[in-house]
Structures are given as structure tokens and as C-alpha cells.
């Protein structure tokens, strides 16, 4: 574990070198460590986020000092608090609570913009690509890029596909895409450079809801293929959101 400053108001805690493809036990350890740091309620820590192999603590240094932290040696003081918090990590905690989600995906027509390219690159048919994709167990490594965008590990190796050299300026909300060895879902209409293979009718982010994002780091995700008719019918019945 190594702690480095991210500017003067954040600290990054680095746990391990990256394991390509995402190592499930490492993710559980990371999320358990994040829970331990949040539980410790260290003065001056505004929030704690996780991404792959790092945790980041966003700080209000003045608040910490006002609550007893030393101005000189502030970083060392935080390091001590972080180390103490990590003594009480419950390694099984995060894993036991990780949730399972079924994400509906329609890979028909214009929804599957880049499915032909992905299939060609993999030497597979469109149906084979979709079959592999929907058989895979994904896990949310972290959220980012835009609010609610999940970075998913667990993509079958055959489906690895480099990002497009020229990103598209506008991808529709719900686009399910492959970027390198990861998959992701664009929650809102936004620019994007990943290869779009389908679209989900599910809402992945709503600022009016709490929590605002459908998914969170650690969640397990499987995709289920639906037809265009099922996609179109989706909003007309009570959705699974909020279950």
C-alpha cells in the first residue's frame, strides 16, 4: 500500500499493481478498504472513491486542521489515520453484499452500430458475439466518464476490441459498448469512443433518485438479449428499477 498526494486536497491510496481483466478478490479487498475508511469518519475527509486498484480520499485540509490535525505534517497525519482505519477491514464484507443485476440489451438494427466490426475482428458471427457477451459474468470495477457509466470487467478475451480511433461525438443513452478489454454502458447521450454492440432500455442514472446510479462498484452484471419489440415495449410496463 502506498499513499500519494493528488494535489493538496486529495490522497490516493494505491493497493496493488493492475491485474488486467480485473481480479475479483482484489476488487473485494478494495471495496472493503473503502468501507473501513468511510466508517472511520476521519476529520476533513469529504468522500472516498475507488477505481481499479486505488482509493482516493477527497479532503478539506482546513476542516481537518480545525479539528485537531497539525498544519505541519498534515499528510503524515492523514496517512496515520488511513493506516489505522485499514486495520479494521472486513475482507468478506463487500463481496457478501455485492448485488446481481440483469441488464437487458437489444442488438438489432441501428442499436448495434459496431457489432459487425466486433464480429469481423473476432472472426465470429454477430450471434456468436452476442452469445459470448450474454454468457459472461461482468463486475462493475468503478463508475466514471459520465455520471453512472459502469466500467465492466469480465469481457471474454475473444471480444477485446480497441477503442475507435476517432470517437463519435454523440452516442445515444443506453448504448452498450466494448472498449479494449472492458465493457461499459453510456447512461446519457454523450460523446464516446467505444464499440457499440447494443442498447439497453434501462435507466442507469437519474439525479432525482438516491442513489442516483443504478449500478455501483462491486455489482455483478449479466446481459440478456431482447428483441426490438421487447425493447420498444419496455417503458410501457413497470420497470425493474427500484427493486
Amino acid at each position: 500500500m502506498k499513499i500519494t498526494a493528488l494535489g493538496d486536497s486529495a490522497l490516493i491510496v494505491r493497493f496493488a499493481e493492475h491485474s488486467p481483466g480485473g481480479d475479483a478478490s482484489k476488487l473485494d479487498e478494495l471495496l472493503a478498504a473503502r468501507e473501513a475508511i468511510e466508517r472511520a469518519k476521519i476529520p476533513g475527509v469529504l468522500e472516498c472513491t475507488s477505481a481499479y486498484t486505488t482509493l482516493t480520499l477527497f479532503l478539506n485540509p482546513a476542516q481537518a486542521i480545525a479539528q485537531g490535525a497539525p498544519l505541519h505534517g498534515l499528510t503524515g497525519w492523514f496517512e496515520g489515520k488511513i493506516a489505522a482505519a485499514l486495520q479494521s477491514v472486513a475482507p468478506k464484507g463487500a463481496s457478501a453484499r455485492s448485488r446481481q443485476f440483469e441488464i437487458l440489451v437489444c442488438a438489432e438494427g441501428e442499436f448495434a452500430l459496431d457489432l459487425p466490426d466486433v464480429a469481423a475482428a473476432a472472426g465470429l458471427t454477430r450471434e456468436e458475439v452476442l452469445g459470448l457477451f450474454c454468457a459472461a459474468d461482468f463486475r462493475v470495477s468503478c463508475l466514471g466518464f459520465t455520471p453512472g457509466f459502469p466500467y465492466l470487467s469480465g469481457l471474454p478475451k475473444q471480444l477485446t476490441m480497441p477503442r475507435r480511433s476517432v470517437p463519435r461525438t454523440c452516442l445515444p443513452a443506453g448504448s452498450v459498448a466494448i472498449g479494449g478489454a472492458q465493457a461499459g454502458i453510456y447512461p446519457t447521450t454523450s460523446p464516446g469512443g467505444w464499440n457499440v454492440i447494443g442498447r439497453t432500455p434501462l435507466s442507469l442514472f437519474s439525479a432525482e433518485k438516491n442513489p442516483p446510479a443504478l449500478l455501483q462498484a462491486g455489482d455483478r452484471v449479466r446481459f440478456t438479449s431482447i428483441t426490438l419489440a421487447e425493447f420498444s415495449a419496455f417503458g410501457q410496463e413497470p420497470g425493474p428499477r427500484g427493486s
Partner: protein, 327 residues
Amino acid sequence: MALKITRAGFLASVQGAERTGFRHAGVSSGGALDLYGMRVANVLAGNSETAAGLEITSGTFRCRVARSRVVAWIGGSYRVTVHGRSIPAGRPALLGEGEELSITGPTRGCRAWLAVSGGIDVPVVLGSRSTDLRAGFGGWQGRALQDGDELPLGGNPPPAEQLIRSLVHARMAPWSAPFVWSSPAEGAPHLRVLRGRDWDQFEAGSQHSFCSGEFVVAQDADRMGARLEGALLRRLHETDLVSEAVAPGTVQVPPGGLPILLLGDCQTNGGYPKLAHVITVDLARAAQLGPGASIRFREVLLPEAHQLLWQREQDFAKFKIGLSMHP
């Protein structure tokens, strides 16, 4: 109780305190790009530090109020008038019923922040009233202001009521905020930076160029960040990095070698090498960088950054006490 926008100008939005607690969901911290300046403007107007105000970027902005308010602004070199009378930055002034406040500019800098007593009373969304323009939520209908918008205002807080009575004749308070807080725009600022995680991965020549050369802000500068043009910054080896958190102030360098200075609406994670970080007290000046502005960077060490930040908080606390003692 409304604030009527009679002219929205180039870009105006409801901004106030940052949004904390939702970075894990990919939500930017946002808020006024000069968070400190917004706090200063708020306390000048008799508000709590965290009230929502308006962020104005270029052009001509005009608004009116239905009943008397105290207004205060800080930011770049804008010409601000109330009913034709010029209001300097950092000076509380009376905006009477039916009078028009006009903000035009800037001749230097980029943005201005306006606090109106009572604060813009939009709902708190994910912990903040500030607008997330990119994601389209918070603030006023999740969008930039348009001509004709009528924004709800909170009731005048007691300090503002007092000020309104005392300013009936003078129209403007005789006191003001320190100049460096209210007018942070400089012609060619030096921004102080800390070394980033990937500093050592850059060629010595690039490290030197970064700390000694001049950079010019490119055209596509917005609330997410400013692309900088100048010496190309080269890494010793172009290896891929694992994405991790970035923050407002982070200077990242994409493979092309031209750095990007991230601002309040930046994404939560980034995979580009992090060369440096602008210190928090200098983000006020970073928020004044518009296209074409030139800047330089100067390295400082972390204890100095913390010292400056703590000193500013102490000064702010004293300033607030001073304000509370005015009749």
C-alpha cells in the same frame, strides 16, 4: 420573490457550493469554478457561504429583482452596473425593486460570480444547488440560463435586511473584500503547482519546459478544463496507465503532449499521466483562464500549499467577523 433574467449573455448558470459525496457514481464536484470567490460574494451579500449564485461567462448579462436585494460580485474585469451606477468587484450594493443589474465583459479574465441576498432558491440535487451542465441536472432546470428565466430567491437573511436599510441612501457599502479575492484575474498569471504522480515519467526537458515556458489556453476551454498550447511534453516511455481519480487543478498530458488543466466539471477518473496539480488557492486564477490567455507554472511543495490554504481560511474567518461588525 424572483430574479428575472432579462438577458442571459453567452453562458450563465446557477452555481454555488461544490457537489460532494457522489464522485463514486461518476458525478463531478462542479459548483462555482471559483468556489472561494463564490463564498466571498455570498458573505458580502449577507448570505451563508454555501448559497447558490450565478456564474457568468462573457457577453452581457442583465437581471432584475421583484424586491430589494443586496448584490455582490467577484471575478474578471467586468463592468457591472446597477441602474447605471458602476459597482466595483467585492463591494456590496443595493439592487432596488425594478432596477436592472448589468454585467458586461470581460476585458481581462473569463468569469464572474454574482451573489444575490437570499440566494438562488433552486432545489438541492445530489447535495448541491449547482448546475451540472454536462449531465443536465441541478441548478435551474439542469441547464444554462435563458432570456426570460425567472429564478426563485430565498428570503433576505437578517444581515441582508440590515444592509438594505443602511444602503437606502448610499446605495453601496463603503467596505469591500480584499482585491486579490474579488479580482483574481491577472494578465499573465503564474499558477503554483505540485508535482503529480507521473512527474518522473516525463523527460527532463519537458519538466523544465513545463515550469519555465509559457502556455496559451486553446479555444476549447470550458468548465471541464482548459487545453493548453506550448511546448510538447514528452514521457520517457509511452505506457498505458490504469485510470484513477483526477481532481480540479490536475494537469494531465494526453499522448499528443499538450497538457490539459482540469477544472470543476472534470470527470471523476482519468487515465492520462498526471504531470502536476494547481494548488487549491490558485484555482481562483485558473477559473479566469479563457481562450487565448497565457499562463506559466511555478513549482511549490505540499506544505506550502497547505500553509497557503490554511492562511486563507484564517483570513476568511477574520473577514467574516469584520463584516458582522459593520452596522
